[in-house]
């Protein structure tokens, strides 16, 4: 099947971009690029993907090369989008959709906003609350963690457009969590601040970065593996620093 290299490059770029921006593994981005290229009988296709950007070179006839460099600046987590891109690349390799249809679908996936931010905030609160119960909390801790989780998720949304989004959002989340927990404990002696803090920290831990670091390293993507591991370390330590500073201040002020 003959396709214009330009169109193909557009589809490949968008697919890889969505995967990397929404928390997919880098090997998934590279493999998606390779599979789509192979489905259209491209003579040479080579790509290098890292969590911060990717390079693709496509040569449809073996003489002329088309190269594309894309920097990834925003990284969030949206598993649904990764799954949808996976589906599109599957359909493309089976030739059940054309390149133009794929481009349209990918555009639609790329521009799709999160459905219901209000619900997401509530889910974050409920998740924190149930983790607080799991770590030895009772009714009071449940409701404190619920409110804390909601506040943290609303505040960390404000940082989303920042360059060093993860660092700031985790350090501030840690601060807020510990502040509320210490405050509530100060006024009601029946509350156990440990379970509130751990419960609210659990959903913010860098589980995806850790999982991806290992999955990338196992595939031989050493640079991506180290990058993800650094990301996981940064998030975990800034979260701990945020809570630690607050608790330290509470100790020195003699609040408990």
């Amino acid at each position: 099947m003959e396709v214009s290299a330009n169109n193909l490059l557009k589809v490949i770029k968008l697919a890889a971009q969505i995967i990397l921006e929404n928390g997919g593994e880098t090997y998934r981005a590279e493999e998606t690029i390779k599979f789509i290229g192979r489905a259209f009988n491209i003579k040479e296709i080579e790509s290098i993907a890292t969590p911060t950007g990717f390079y693709i070179t496509v040569s449809s006839d073996g003489n002329e090369n088309n190269t594309l460099v894309k920097r990834i600046r925003k990284r969030t987590i949206d598993l649904h989008k990764i799954n949808d891109v996976n589906q599109v690349s599957r359909q493309l390799s089976e030739h059940s959709i054309t390149l133009d249809e794929a481009l349209e679908k990918l555009q639609e996936i790329y521009e799709r906003k999160e459905s219901g931010i209000r619900y997401n905030v509530l889910y974050a609160g409920l998740s924190s609350a149930f983790f607080a119960l799991l770590f030895g909390g009772h009714v009071l801790e449940f409701f404190t963690a619920l409110i804390t989780g909601i506040i943290v998720s609303m505040v960390s949304r404000r940082f989303e457009n920042l360059q060093s989004y993860q660092f700031f959002s985790s350090i501030f989340s840690g601060l807020i969590i510990a502040c509320i927990a210490v405050f509530v404990t100060f006024f009601s002696k029946m509350v156990n601040y440990n379970s509130i803090i751990v419960g609210c920290m659990m959903p913010l831990l860098p589980g995806l970065a850790m999982t991806n670091a290992i999955r990338d390293t196992i595939r031989g993507d050493l640079i991506s593996g180290i990058a993800r591991a650094t990301e996981a370390l940064l998030v975990a330590s800034s979260l701990a620093a945020g809570t630690g500073v607050t608790i330290y201040m509470a100790y020195t002020m003699g609040l408990f």
Partner: protein, 144 residues
């Protein structure tokens, strides 16, 4: 017994809502949450009976294996199943206790708990790596 049952329910709810935050596809929500609670149960019982680090290893192995199996069944990326289900096992408590000991100027116990937490994370990493290496070996060039 009731304690464990309650823990399982809490774990199920916590991972269900966590999966919802991460926008997991709707038809996989139940699978992930159930795998999360069973993985947590395995982790709890192994660390109570044998050894904590082994508990982390066993729990993670189960979650990662189920993730790979579901990935084949649903033709979806394995991360979708592994990531929300692994969260209850991640040693957040160890991280917090390390930090708390540092704050209380108790360096010795901070180092002790910290080393323990790092061991646990490493054992989780090894479990995940083993399972995904086995999965790569088995699938022979198919994308999932």
């Amino acid at each position: 017994m009731t304690d464990i049952l309650l823990d399982l329910i809490y774990c199920f709810a916590a991972s269900l809502f966590f999966a919802l935050i991460m926008n997991t596809p709707k038809n996989t929500l139940m699978h992930t949450s159930i795998v999360a609670s069973i993985g947590y149960l395995i982790y709890l019982s192994c660390s109570a009976q044998l050894n904590t680090t082994l508990g982390f290893f066993a729990g993670t192995t189960f979650v990662a294996m189920m993730g790979e199996i579901f990935a084949r069944r649903f033709k979806m990326p394995a991360t979708i199943f592994i990531f929300p289900a692994i969260i209850p096992i991640v040693p957040g408590l160890g991280l917090y206790e390390t930090m708390l000991a540092f704050v209380q100027n108790d360096i010795l116990s901070a180092l002790e708990i910290g080393a323990d937490t790092i061991f646990n994370i490493v054992s989780m990493a090894i479990a995940m790596a083993l399972v995904s290496a086995a999965a790569i070996k088995m699938k022979s060039g198919k994308m999932n």
